[in-house]
Amino acid sequence: MLLVIGVISIMTMRLFYLQVIHHGYYNRLAISNRIQRERMVAPRGLIRASDGSKLVVNVPVYQISLVPGKITGREDRLELACEWLGIDSENLFDSLAEWKKKYPDGREMPVVQSAEKGQISILMENRSLFPFFKLVMKHRRQYPEGDLATHVLGYVGEVTDEELKDDDRFRPGDLTGRTGIEYKYDEYLRGDAGVRIIEISAEGIKVGEYDGISHDNDFDEFVQSRSPVPGCDLYLTIDLDLQKVMEREFDCDRGCIIAMDPSTGGILGAVSRPSYDPNIFMGGISEKDWNMLHGDPAKPLFNRTIQATYPPASTFKLIVCYGALYFELVPKNAWLEPCYGGYQFGNRYFRCWKPEGHGYANMFDAIVNSCDVYFYQIGERMNADQFAYAGRIFGLGRKTGVDLPSEARGTLPDHSYFDRRFGKRKWTKGHLLNYSIGQGEVLTTPIQLCQMVAMIANGGKRIKPHLVDRVVDTEGAEIYRSDNTAVPISQMNNKILKFIQRSMVAVVSGEHGTGRASRIPGVTSAGKTGTAQNSGEDHALFVAYAPVEAPEIAVAIIMENAGHGGAMAAPMARRILSAYFNPGAAWNGKFMYGKTIVAGADR
């Protein structure tokens, strides 16, 4: 009897201990049993062209993922589910085993990135039969204009483990920008995830939303439901029509074009080839695709407009001209030694591009017909620092600061550079002769060339190249606007600039101008050709701006291994500029200048 009383009172004490003393603890457990915080991913901001048309949008997709912890004992049902969903079960079990080895923390394994309607309804109807499958709604990036401006837009990927560790706002499966605008403006695009507090049953069935906790002081760790804040929309400076034309007309396998508004620095269009399909990065790129993209010698992931460096070739003569006149090394109108197809300097013979020679030429003629011999003689008179000075004024040799990641700097050698590169007094005037025609050590990115032309066009004002015009939040409020100002440079000698502009006009419209093939009716344009020698076939270069009176557009075209700039790149400029100035008029390839002129034009 005593024993019974003892045991019963022990039980009473235990009951008291559980229910009264530790009530809070167990109550918390009971609530966390059935309350789950469901994270609502914020839709990423859209990326739009300058006219507001969408370049990157979101589409909701349902991802099917597998919860490894809920499979044990239900393997046969998993096989059945695979059969119903049309998934290869053997394959799935193999990858599951691999997944479990890789992530022993039991995280969910994505099985189907974008489920079809049939698959979704099968899973919805059989939730309790297949508790191991989870349907997660996700946003996926979609490109309404296809692979338009792929390199500029960049792509997104799911966050990596390191990023998860570094930034506590991330959760597995979140998207983050990897390159391009998507990367650079990730903070704006990302948005803010929301939280929904829901009740679930032991079988994981969602019962409903729960709002009782937020009023209970015991449960500080459960925050209130909060709706997600979508990411901000970006308006690019990209002119959609021009970009389309550029994409269509750029028929070269490798190379790039970039077009800029000379008065603001806004990039109107940019094409880099070869390109890639941004869709393959959705939901994690496969190793095979990744290796293919990375192993490709043509480097499709490489954004040539800002990452590639090329010898500027004859386009650099504009800079040399500025330097020579600025430092008054030659009188503007004086003839130098005539060109007979080459120039003997010491024991080396430097060839002009035209074997029969240009004869006597002054600065103006030398730019128009791009005479190398004339510029060799300038190179003889000009020192390395003077080259660098002229180049630096036009923004060469340093990053333009465009709002894209991993921009290249290029090389604009000065005295100390040559000293470092070759050793003191180990380099000769010969290097500078090459420098004077834009070959040798000097390297520029296409965007630098485009900026250079834009600065010539706008009368020597410093501009900041950029792609994003403004950032607008969901309420329509502008929260960022790009710097569109063109700042005059005090050292800029405007007389020389005017001279350069005149000579560039003659390059296009002059009888012997190397850029004749870029002429377009109704609009006066200015340009400069270039043919960059390199280990393989020459690169064709052409820089231009138009209209001369009030420049609206500056372009730089680089066609790798395509041949002469005047023959290859200048006609491309014509096609693009004529389409830009005659919107709507379809270019049939014939309406202005016959192919014969193109063939006759050289550099």
Binding site: M1, I8, L15, Q19, H23, N27, L29, S201, A202
Partner: protein, 422 residues
């Protein structure tokens, strides 16, 4: 045989019993209850425990009345036959097709019953009958051997089903009755301590692997030494007490090592549910969460979340008490404990009051039955006892349990109202 005298009705047993039945029914109603707006999410079709238990309760009341009406000497007279029939049905059940991996039920038409429940009644009566005879002094070797045999046979048969929890009821019935009949204290201790030693040894072994000191085992051994010292006059008994317990403590680990790993794990999980949090431990964990979250006054009738969201397993049967404690809190749990204590205490009082020796023995057996079930079941839900399948009388869903509990309650009332008869 005199007419039953309703003035001698044991209200102290009948009323707590009836209240418990009502509480059990209300509790089962709550278990099956799903709020209107959640009907679609939780389809509880085919789980209408409340209505079925209503029928069982009615049947139980009939059984109680029958048990009350039968002249009490008939129990004594039919004990042997009853035991025989129960034994046969236990053998039959083992030969039948196993259901859900164990052979516990015999189906007769719609009716499915557990012979092991029947056997509990039979063992109580046959022990009472055998030990109530004056010549059968339990301190004699022949008598105690026979008594143990009477229990050991159903014990083994039920162990074979396999149903360890139910099997353990039988020794729990035997020893109180033997003690009541006057079994020597020393012999009692000699029988009971090795079992506790074995339990504690296995328990300690699992805690040692966790790195904790086997404290309970050492304390228990010290207690044995103290008892042995105090009883040093009976040197042989004291020495064998120490020797047997020491032997158990050394043999058990070697026996455990001979078992296969999965068997070892199962024993561990039985004794220490918290070591197997995803298996049996899960049930106990969720049960503790349910009870603890109930608090002092509970979440309110029909408001239990652990039960509604199905976190609590076996919430209609083994863990019915957890639902009650969740919804009614400490107050509700205490009321149930007090009601059971009333029945048991009144029962023990009756055992001293009744003049008939058979009735007295049987009452002790019945009280042991209730006590053991209550302690093991509620102990399990609050994490003090291992997880067995033992139901809580009147509260757990189940026909056999309800009928047997009501019947035994009726027997108590029967004996109580004729306490004056020899």
């Amino acid at each position: 045989m005199a007419e039953k005298n309703l003035r001698n009705m044991e209200w102290g047993i009948l009323i707590p019993g009836l209240i418990l039945i009502c509480i059990g029914l209300a509790n089962l109603y709550s278990v099956g209850h799903v709020p209107e707006e959640l009907r679609e999410t939780f389809q509880m079709g085919g789980r209408d425990y409340f209505h079925r238990q209503l029928i069982w309760s009615a049947a139980g009341l009939v059984a109680m009345i029958v048990a009350f009406a039968i002249p009490f000497r008939y129990y004594e007279g039919s004990a042997v036959v009853f035991y025989g029939v129960s034994l046969i049905s236990l053998v039959v059940v083992l030969l039948l097709e196993p259901l859900k991996g164990s052979s516990r039920w015999i189906s007769i038409g719609f009716f499915r019953f557990q012979p092991s429940e029947l056997m509990k009644i039979a063992v109580i009566f046959i022990l009472a009958r055998y030990l109530s005879e004056k010549k059968n002094d339990p301190n004699r070797f022949r008598v105690i051997s026979l008594a143990i045999l009477v229990v050991l046979v159903p014990f083994t048969l039920i162990l074979k089903q396999p149903d360890l929890g139910t099997a353990l009821v039988f020794p729990a019935l035997l020893f109180p009755v033997l003690y009541w009949r006057g079994l020597n204290e020393g012999v009692m201790i000699l029988f009971l301590t090795p079992a506790i030693s074995a339990f504690l040894t296995v328990y300690s072994e699992s805690t040692i692997s966790d790195g904790t000191y086997p404290f309970p085992l050492l304390v228990f051994f010290l207690m044995i030494l103290v008892v042995a010292y105090r009883r040093r006059r009976r040197l042989f008994q004291s020495l064998s007490l120490v020797a047997i317990n020491l032997g158990v403590m050394f043999i058990i680990p070697t026996l455990m090592d001979m078992l296969k790993p999965y068997q070892q794990r199962r024993i561990m999980a039985f004794l220490r549910p918290e070591s197997d949090i995803l298996g049996m431990g899960w049930q106990v964990y969720q049960s503790k969460v349910a009870i603890g979250s109930g608090g002092f006054t509970g979440k309110g009738f029909l408001q239990g979340t652990q039960k509604l969201f199905a976190f609590l397993p076996e919430r209609h049967s083994d863990f019915a008490f957890s639902v009650l404690a969740e919804e009614r809190g400490f107050v509700g749990g205490l009321v149930v404990l007090i009601l059971f204590s009333l029945i048991i205490a009144r029962g023990f009082y009756l055992a001293t009051k009744v003049k008939n020796r058979f009735a007295s023995m049987a009452i002790i057996g019945i009280c042991s039955y209730f006590t053991f079930h209550v302690i093991v079941n509620i102990g399990m839900t609050i994490g003090l006892a291992p997880v067995t399948g033992l139901p809580l009388p009147f509260l757990s869903y189940g026909g056999s349990s309800m009928l047997v509990s009501c019947f035994l309650l009726g027997v108590l009332l029967n004996f109580g109202s004729s306490f004056y008869e020899y």
